[in-house]
């Protein structure tokens, strides 16, 4: 009677059977944990290798495929986590997110890259913040546990960095998408308000970390801190002008990474810590590079607009000087017979979406025997590397795009410097006018070229209202009009020559 003995067994030795199950589960859990940690370690290595790929353009794509594979490994590893008991919402979220993410990346025009980057920082930060809130809720409300100092500090950093990045990035997105005015938004006592809010947020953080649970109010303070973080994000970005967006975007990039790292500390997850640290380091380095390229300190970019009215440039005495405008025909002839041309693209080229016409013109000049190079200033455009991506999209080979340090010595040899919608990055005042707000900023030496053609929409001074003496240089000729239509006309003229 085998069946009876089985039943017998079940009833007779429930304790033993339970032990066997427990032991089995323990082995299972141990193995599961081994798999998960293995997946995380693999992912960390792949992320690092992936980023290393970006140090050379021809290795970059392969590198990013490694990083993407790392992400897949990490997600699969997490899905076997014993704590996950229900996959319904996970699946829905993954599908929805993949659909939206893929749609954005397929149909978004390359010119919208800065906006997309800004808003994706908001998404990343939103995820980090919500996970932080959910974790806090689980610990305090569901478990009713005392949250340790270290864990609370990690959670606090996670939601603080997260929440200020959400709104900060949304504001940056609004400015780049021109839903908000690009000019700094200022009001009286702005500095005081912000410092006050910072202080209050910091106090709430300290209370959460240090105050014993018995004092109470932790939940309220926690949510108030999230709200304060959201407010800080708004207030910190609205006074920053459009031209300073490269620094803001880089900074938000860094904060989104730090929020992920803090999440790693809160959840005890090394992969999150590593990925977040890589991201944080990257954003931090980029913001330093951007600030340096503007010859300004971090603090100056972040607090520059506070209280100080826009300085009027020292060389506002342009009244007596005259600009020389040039006809399309003359400009075309100048370009067609030049043996060396350096193109200086700026935000104006991005706005006019003129990169394809630029490439066409460059190819025509090269066909006629001239040489064309592109001089890229680190802060040209609205985010780091903005011009490079636009030119690459228009099929300009990347070895023709030169960084400021590489090309600055070559301007003196150039027959024509063709400035397209760039202003501050070629303003000689940065070199020789101590009273100019941009004094000391490294610039492209376009003024050293034998002649300069500037494509410009109108004579309105640039963003900060700074006069550009390059435009009044006797060597300079201005071709007024929308960059795209001017270039189209130039292309037609050069072809006709």
């Amino acid at each position: 009677m085998p069946s009876l003995s089985v039943i017998d067994n079940l009833f007779a030795t429930p304790l033993l059977a339970q032990h066997a199950v427990d032991a089995h589960a323990a082995v299972n859990d141990g193995f599961r944990e081994f798999l998960i940690e293995g997946a995380y370690l693999t992912a960390s290595v792949l992320f690092i290798l992936g980023l290393r790929g970006l140090t050379a353009p021809d290795k970059a794509r392969r590198g990013m495929q490694l990083a993407a594979a790392g992400m897949l490994v990490a997600v699969i590893g997490t899905l076997i986590d014993a704590r996950i008991v229900d996959y319904k919402w996970i699946l829905l979220g993954l599908l929805l997110g993949s659909g939206i993410g893929a749609a954005i990346s397929i149909w978004m025009p390359m010119t919208a890259i800065p906006q997309r980057t800004a808003i994706s920082h908001a998404f990343g930060a939103l995820a980090a913040t919500l996970v932080g809130i959910s974790h806090f809720d689980y610990l305090t409300r569901i478990l009713g546990a005392e949250v340790g100092h270290v864990e609370m500090a990690a959670l606090g950093f996670e939601v603080m960095f997260g929440s200020l990045t959400i709104t900060g990035s949304l504001m940056a997105f609004g400015k780049l998408q021109e839903l908000l005015p690009g000019a700094p938004i200022t009001y009286p006592f702005q500095n005081e308000t912000n410092i006050g809010l910072f202080a209050v947020t910091a106090l709430m953080f300290l209370y959460l970390v240090l105050a014993p649970t018995a004092w109470g109010g932790h939940t309220t303070v926690f949510y108030l801190m999230v709200l304060a973080g959201l407010a800080v994000g708004v207030l910190i970005v609205i006074p920053i002008g459009g031209a300073d967006m490269p620094v803001v975007i880089s900074l938000m990039n860094s904060y989104a990474g730090l929020a992920a790292s803090a999440m790693g500390f809160a959840l005890g997850n090394n992969l999150l810590i590593i990925a977040g640290a890589l991201d944080g380091a990257s954003g931090f380095i980029l913001s330093i590079l951007m600030s340096r390229a503007m010859n300004r300190s971090f603090a100056n970019v972040l607090f520059g607009a506070f209280g100080t009215p826009v300085e009027t440039a020292g060389k506002a005495s342009s009244a007596g000087m005259t600009v020389k405008s040039v006809s399309v025909e003359d400009a075309a002839a100048q370009l067609a017979y030049a043996s060396e041309v350096i193109v200086v693209p700026g935000y104006g080229m991005a706005v006019a979406q003129a990169q394809h016409q630029v490439r066409e013109l460059a190819e025509l000049i090269e066909k006629r025997g001239g040489e064309v190079k592109f001089a890229i200033h680190p802060v040209a455009g609205r985010m780091p590397g903005h011009m490079n991506v636009l030119l690459a999209e228009a099929n300009v080979p990347y070895d023709k795009m030169l960084e400021m340090d590489e090309i600055n010595d070559q301007f003196a040899r150039a027959d024509v410097a063709l400035v397209i919608g760039a202003n501050d990055v070629v303003n000689p005042a940065a070199r020789n006018d101590r009273s100019s707000p941009i004094f000391g900023m490294p610039i492209l030496n376009a003024d050293q070229a034998k002649s300069i053609i500037v494509l410009k929409r109108s004579m309105n001074p640039g963003f900060a209202g700074i006069e550009n003496e390059l435009f009044y240089d006797p060597k300079t000729a201005l071709l007024f009009g929308d960059a795209k239509s001017s270039l189209t006309k130039l292309v037609a003229e050069v072809k006709a020559i």
Binding site: Y87, M110, G124, L130, N270, P384, G385, Y398, E403
Partner: protein
């Protein structure tokens, strides 16, 4: 006296997490150094793809979001987790895809 006795196990318990926290701090600092070393070597040419790549990688928050969405701690947690999974996935999928789209465009000059 009684108080002291009560405190002993508590302190012993705290000792372990403190070491763990420090280990995590090591991981953070070392990863930051690696990041610094690598990122400073990325040419300005690729700074936009770099940012979009690190942005995709910071979508790693997905790992935390998955657990929050699937652990069934409470309706509230599940809801927050679900939104977090969606947001992080947008970042991951969109980020990697757009980085690839950008990098595909960078071509060398051929005569």
């Amino acid at each position: 006296m009684l108080d002291l006795l009560h405190n002993v196990p508590l302190l012993a318990q705290e000792a372990a997490p403190m070491t763990t926290s420090f280990l995590r701090l090591y991981v953070f600092v070392l990863a930051g150094f690696i990041g610094f070393q690598i990122i400073t070597k990325v040419p300005a040419l690729l700074h936009t793809p770099l940012m979009s790549a690190t942005n995709a990688i910071s979508g790693i928050a997905l790992v935390g979001a998955l657990v929050a969405a699937g652990a069934q701690h409470s309706y509230y947690s599940t809801l927050l987790g679900f939104i977090a999974v969606t947001a992080a996935t947008i970042n991951v999928v969109g980020g990697f895809m757009i980085t690839d789209r950008m990098l595909k465009m960078f071509k060398r000059y051929e005569r």
